[in-house]
């Protein structure tokens, strides 16, 4: 074996080792609310000093914020057809709420990247909604090699041994805005984490599955948190902590003025005294 042949063989093996050995890999899917509403080239619009006046029941629109300028590391946000079932999770959990008149699912294709409030207004007018919930996504998928991932070099190992440890972390954030005044009303997060192992050949399939499942779980978490945030938001308005927002119910009563009335079935202490007298008299009469 000549020296040059041995050198080429060593080079080929080294190249194979370098290329064949599994290296850590990170995939990111991201859409930013700030990039959409406040694109860098524009100054952030000043909020309406009059604040928001929401008239119940509300017509609510939900949309995924479009992904920003994608780098080679940032992949498309979600597969076609994946958006509607995800938004449906929120729609289903809010459709029976007494303060909601209607929920419209707005396709993200109607939202321009960096469209700002102008674009949000257009879409809101188109769907006839009072309030828009803008959902942004941040999903990171890590793939780390296990110690035995070198067996991928045998080709068979790449199809048989699960040498990849996959970790999918998803954070979804919903920010709710009043369309008329552009007032920020509330926000709620939803998160999920999925872990799994896969073979080299099955890696992409599992990552896709985990991505979809992670979004689904985070959306369910978001729906739950959004419910709690709405209750907290209502309490803030009733207590007067949110001076920039007022809510008017069906009867035209302002929540800020009524303070979110609490009613109780009660017995006054004078009545309690009467009750005790009746009880005492009854027990004495029975004994007699």
């Amino acid at each position: 074996m000549s020296r040059s042949f041995r050198f080429s063989l060593f080079g080929a093996v080294l190249a194979l080792l370098t290329l064949g050995c599994n290296t850590p890999q990170t995939t990111t899917r991201r859409s930013s609310l700030m990039d959409y509403l406040y694109p860098k080239q524009q100054n952030a619009p000043a909020p309406n000093p009059a604040g928001a006046r929401l008239k119940l029941p509300l017509k609510l629109g939900i949309a995924f914020v479009p992904g920003g300028s994608a780098s080679w590391r940032v992949q498309n946000l979600m597969a076609p057809g994946q958006e509607k079932p995800l938004l449906d999770v929120v729609k289903q959990s809010f459709k029976d709420k007494p303060w909601v008149a209607d929920i419209k699912l707005v396709p993200s294709t109607y939202l321009r990247p960096g469209g700002g409030f102008e674009n949000m207004d257009q879409v809101a007018r188109m769907y006839g909604v009072d309030v828009m919930a803008l959902v942004s996504v941040d999903q990171i998928q890590y793939t780390d090699p296990r110690w035995y991932s070198f067996t991928y070099l045998s080709i068979v190992g790449a199809y048989v041994l699960p040498g990849d440890a996959n970790d999918t972390r998803t954070l979804i954030d919903a920010a709710v805005y009043d369309v008329a005044s552009h007032t920020f009303l509330l926000r709620a997060p939803g998160q999920s984490q999925l872990k799994g192992s896969s073979t080299w050949a099955y890696r992409e399939v599992q990552l896709r599955e985990h991505s979809a499942k992670g979004l689904q779980l985070a959306m369910t978490d978001l729906a739950k948190n959004l419910d709690a945030e709405v209750a907290a938001f209502k309490a803030e308005i009733a207590s007067g902590d949110r001076k920039d927002v007022d809510v008017v119910d069906r009867q035209g009563v302002s929540l800020r003025q009524s303070g979110g009335r609490n009613f109780g079935g009660s017995v006054s202490w004078i009545e309690v005294l009467g009750v005790l007298l009746i009880l005492g008299a009854a027990l004495r009469w029975r004994r007699a």
Binding site: D249, N262, F263, G265, L279
Partner: protein, 160 residues
């Protein structure tokens, strides 16, 4: 929002129809209503105890459903509406026998006095310092339900 209080959410979360009568605004509210519930619990004849429990279980969601349309976005807590149901029901039961009739009259008279007082008093006087106000409708509807719940017993008595 309290997950047990009676709100318009009760249509989606039906347990609120019962639990709304169990939760209160503070210990004073709880104590006062406990006294009101104690009277029918102690004075009910042994043979009627099961009936009293049945009336309480059935009347609680019915009373809640009657209160819901007026609540809007607000909430209701307290057992006194239910106490009114039981006072009316037991008062009527006690009226049926000659021995216990004076006691029945005393209970119904006392309840009537309370309802008349609440109807006459201005609503603002029923606002409590703890940030809630009495809902006289709960007591009125409670008394009405108590009256209605005496119908089966009367029907049985007539058939017998």
């Amino acid at each position: 929002m309290d997950p047990l209080a009676l709100t318009s959410e009760a249509l989606r979360e039906p347990w609120r129809l019962w639990t709304g009568h169990l939760v209160h605004f503070g210990w004073e509210h709880t104590l006062a209503n406990t006294f009101a519930l104690l009277v029918p619990a102690l004075l009910v004849p042994c043979e009627d105890r099961r009936r009293l429990c049945t009336v309480a279980l059935l009347a609680a969601p019915l009373l809640s459903l009657l209160l819901l349309p007026g609540l809007g976005q607000d909430q209701y807590r307290g057992a006194s509406g239910l106490a009114c149901v039981l006072w009316t029901w037991l008062g009527h039961r006690l009226l049926a026998t000659e021995d216990s009739a004076p006691l029945g009259r005393l209970m119904l008279g006392g309840l009537l006095l309370k309802l008349a007082g609440e109807t006459m008093v201005n609503g603002s006087l029923l606002v409590r310092a703890e940030g809630w106000q009495t809902l006289p409708a709960a007591h009125l509807w409670g008394a009405c339900l108590g009256l209605i719940s005496t119908i089966p017993a009367r029907f049985h008595a007539r058939r017998a």
